[in-house]
Amino acid sequence: MVSILFWPLLSILVLVPFRKQNWAQWVNLLLHLPWVFFLIELIKVTPSGAPFGLMETYGTFPLFKSALVLGADTLNVSLIALTIFLSFSLSFYFLGHSKISQSFLILFQLLNFGTIGSLLAADAFLFYIFWEFMLIPLFFLIGIWGSENRVYAALKFFSMTLAGSLALLAGIFFIVTKTEVQSLAWSELSRNAEMLSAAAPWLGWAFLLAFLVKVPVWPLHTWLPDAHTEAPTGVSVMLAGILLKLGVYGMLRWVLQVFPTLYWNSTDLLFAASVIGIILGSYGALRQTDIKRMIAYSSVAHLGFVVLGAISTNATAQSGAFFQNFAHGLSTGLLFLSFGMIYDRTHSRKLDEYGGLASTNRFLAFTFVFASMASVALPGLPGFVGEFLILSGTFLQKGWWVLLPLMGVVLGAMYTLQLVKGLVFGKVSPLVESHPISLKWNEYVSIFPFLVGLALLGLAPQFLLAWINGSIPVK
């Protein structure tokens, strides 16, 4: 497990000598190959049964009751696979890209390191360290390579997530000082979960707050549209693809399994928040004129669904929620990527300036329509599988309350089609006319895995579902 975690750091070292841009980009691509190899090794050995089936500890922090404990089970290894998938295809996209400099790639690898770290961490304090560590590269990536008011967006993103994770830190301190927990290892925490929940009821909320900010659950989501619109394409793909999922993973791993009682009695509030998130997220997307903001708001709505699934008591919705992570990751990732390619050439995000892309570049139009169909949860594409499982699970548990999120499904279709009509169909706008988009070979290659992934997960998701069902927290 260590190799997969520390590989990004190693690749940074390798990247350092390559000052020239295209050299750095090629090296970055090649560095992904061994990473994939490590992933395959890890997948072979990951147990699918009990949570954190495979645990390895590497030395302890002296001052604090925590240790460098890494754990792996299908839950986090699958997300790692998604990270590496996104990063790999993005590295293709970066080839020959004018704005991607060496420092960008180094920060990008740092971000990967943080993500994989927080996924693998099986110790509360170690998790917190990686959780915070992720913010730093992201802050710089958005702050430096973003578009117009990127600094505001980066600052807002940083401060909100930081505020949230401070609650997490407070919780950890409380556990270390007040309760007689020997170590902060996950197994230890989950073993005396009742004692912890009884010790301080607010503890659950403290942990939960950090994750709710990250998964943009409704009231805490305002950083997402800004961060997504201002972030450069690569970063917004990663942000939408994997970083939002970390919040959900955090919720499942560190709240559901560590404070089960607190988690369950907070679910009604979360249900309301997620439903409002879905509806207001969709309406938010509906009223946008800026394309990237529209996609950002759509991910708020989609993650509203994921949270809806994550807080339900039956296994269907839970596995549906976790599957939706992948569906949303791929579909929104593809949306951002394809629009990113358009944006690289036309440098405008206003929807009304676009139109008639289908007549100029057929392939990009196809990918865009395909991705938006996936995000509308059209059956035959992964979005449907996830959403259907979530909704049927919620129906089982909540009964006729399910109609509200169902409304979200319709609204989802509304704003996505509006986006597609504005961008792809309709008369050819002067902007699209004047910027003929001819995709380079590496851009085709970077889009291809997404298309295959979406089609595969849509029609035959069982291989993934069966794999992750084992370690879904709720049986």
Binding site: L391, L403, V410
Partner: protein, 632 residues
């Protein structure tokens, strides 16, 4: 239905894979001129051949099944992508693939001069694939896959000529209304998985058949399930609340309207209900709901069709009203009648649409019938085909329309009594009236516009499918003769054998049946003659009275929908999200940032700069602390 079901393994998935392959190939390769079209038609024809092979297996095998593969399974939801073929569905299969191939052929020449043919035929094949998936899949969730697939393809095809904004918007409207309808299907699926534990049709049937388990179900489950399915059917087959998308769907190319909005997609609602008939049979309230909704749709659509000027719009409204007839039959508890009408309607409506297409093609895309006229001489073949179509739809004796409509009328009379029968009869009269109105306006009297003078007959490749379809629409009726005349009741045999027993209303003696048949034929002949008298010379500039305006503007239904549902929903939602997101949350955030600045300023008041005031404050602070310590 206790006889042993011998289920025979059959390569049903092949039927689906063929058109899918066609779609993929067309999507990838842009061949010269009409090659794409021919490729698509070839694949569709192959599917037709395979489905004929399956059809022949039927007398002995009661059901064909193909397990397929496990789509996805998590918790209590298990979705099996398997396929099965029941006798009546195999007939439908024949229609889908048969009429489909004819339309493909027609479209190859129709779209010959269009620049992105490959894309068109890819969509068309994709449509056929998803329609087949809808028809064949064993699980309701598979049906839903086909259901949404068909919706998407109709969206893509309607908005095919995406240059004009109007088409794109029509596509979206179709997709959105379908989506609203699909919510019903989703709810049905949830109920199925929650209460029946499975979504496979056969599984649900067993659940219903077994009295013990059926009793255990909470009473509302079946009604809700049936209503949800009906709601989905309304969305797909354009019944009252959700029919608005069909007239606008005419924005797409005519073969599309022919295939989708005549033959296949719109009937999918009825197919699903017929497949799940044992559930509906027990729900009398749901059936009456279906009947009255259907009746009102038929009447409303017929009224709207009276004053339309656009040829395709007339046909669209007639489709809506014919669908009303089919659902009325279902409402009356006669799945066989409904299914028989589906088949006959598929034939003559496809014929009518295709002829309209060739007429419009000949008239260089001029759709307004007021501008046509005198095409009888210019386009003889289309004229004959259109005449046959009108005759069939009006229900002239011995045409297919006559048999199926009459069967429906008798079934309605049996179960719903005279009121239902009367209204339906009125609808039938209106149908024949507006059909013949459109016939006379386009073909008789003299050409009224420049295009009309130069209209030319379409090419052979378009005429051949027309001729086949006209033959079909004339003689399909004979398959189901009313049992007074003979025992050739193929259709009832087909439908009953696949488990859809009709609801036993009180049988009508032969005498009343003859009477009903007579009344129906006289009514349609009279209205046809009336139309002949009114429109023989050409368009009659009728006075713009209220009734006329009401009908012409489609009873302002679209406007009502927009102003009462769509606009307010969008308005409330957007400004709600605007208020809460921008001002609410961001406001609080910026507020908190601002508070730091303000406190900063407050503190700076004390920095007067004079050393003495600092010292003073320090000393004061010391004293305060000292005081507090002492006092405390």
């Amino acid at each position: 239905m206790t006889d042993v079901l011998n289920i025979v393994e059959a390569p049903l998935s092949w039927i689906i894979l063929l058109p899918a392959a066609g779609a993929l190939l067309n999507g990838l390769f842009r061949l010269k001129s009409t090659l794409n079209g021919l490729l698509a038609t070839a694949f569709c024809f192959a599917a037709f051949v395979v489905s004929i092979l399956q059809f022949l297996k039927f007398p002995e095998a009661s059901k064909l099944a193909d397990p397929g593969y496990l789509w996805f399974q998590a918790g209590h939801v298990k979705a099996q992508m398997g396929f099965e073929l029941t006798p009546f569905m195999s007939v439908m299969l024949l229609i889908i693939t048969g009429v489909g191939t004819l339309i493909h052929l027609y479209a190859t020449s129709y779209m010959s001069h269009d620049k992105s043919q490959a894309r068109f035929f890819a969509y068309l094949n994709l449509f056929v694939t998803s329609m087949l998936v809808l028809a064949l899949s064993s699980d309701l969730i598979g049906v839903f896959l086909g259901w949404e697939g068909v919706g998407v393809c109709s969206y893509l095809l309607i908005g095919f000529w995406f240059e004009e904004d109007k088409n794109a918007r029509a596509g979206i409207k179709a997709f959105m209304t379908n989506r609203v309808g699909d919510l019903g299907f989703l709810v049905a699926l949830f109920v199925a998985f929650a209460y029946f534990g499975t979504s496979s049709v056969s599984g649900i049937m067993e659940w219903i058949a077994d009295p013990g388990r059926a009793a255990a179900l909470p009473v509302w489950v079946l009604t809700v399930f049936a209503l949800a399915i009906f709601w989905a059917a309304c969305g797909k087959s354009a019944q009252i609340p959700l029919y608005i998308w069909l007239p606008d769907a005419m924005a797409g190319p005519t073969p599309v309207s022919a295939l989708i909005h005549a033959a296949t997609m719109v009937t999918s609602g009825i197919l699903v209900i017929v497949r799940l008939w044992p559930i509906f049979a027990t729900q009398t309230e749901v059936l009456s709901v279906i009947f009255w909704v259907a009746l009102s749709t038929a009447l409303l659509a017929a009224l709207m069709a009276l004053t339309q000027r656009d040829l395709k719009k007339v046909l669209a409204y007639s489709t809506v009203s014919q669908l009303g007839f089919m659902f009325a039959a279902l409402g009356a508890g006669a799945p066989t009648a409904a299914f028989f009408h589906v088949v006959t309607h598929a034939c003559f409506k496809a014929l009518l649409f295709l002829t309209a297409g060739s007429v419009i093609h000949g008239m260089h895309d001029e759709k307004d019938i007021f501008k046509m006229g005198g095409l009888r001489k210019k386009m003889p073949w289309s004229h004959v085909a259109y005449l046959v179509g009108c005759v069939a739809i009006a229900g002239f004796p011995f045409t297919s329309g006559f048999f199926s409509k009459d069967l429906i009328l008798t079934k309605v009379f049996e179960s719903r009594g005279v009121l239902g029968y009367g209204l339906l009869l009125l609808a039938a009269m209106l149908t024949s009236f507006y059909m013949f109105r459109s016939y006379f306006l386009t073909f008789s009297s003299t050409p009224r516009s420049h295009e009309a003078e130069h209209a030319h007959e379409s090419s052979a490749m378009m005429i051949v499918p027309l001729m086949i379809l006209s033959l079909l629409s004339l003689f399909v009726g004979w398959l189901e003769i009313p049992h007074m005349w003979g025992h050739l009741q193929y259709f009832s045999h087909w439908v009953e054998s696949s488990g859809a027993k009709a609801v036993e209303g009180h049988e009508v003696e032969a005498a009343t049946e003859w009477l009903l048949m007579g009344i129906a034929t006289i009514a349609s002949l009279a209205s046809a003659f009336f139309a002949y008298v009114k429109y023989k010379k050409g368009p009659v500039t009728s006075s713009e009275n209220f009734a006329w305006k009401l009908s012409f503007n489609k009873f302002y239904v679209d406007e009502i929908y927009d102003s009462f549902i769509l606009k307010p929903l969008r308005k409330i939602g957007t400004c709600l999200s605007l208020w809460i997101d921008e001002y609410g949350v961001n406001g609080t955030l910026h507020g908190s940032f601002a508070s730091y600045r303000i406190t900063g300023q407050l503190a700076s008041i004390f920095h007067t700069g004079s050393v003495q005031s600092y010292a003073l404050l320090m000393l004061l602070g010391l004293l305060v602390v000292w005081g507090v310590v002492n006092v405390w």
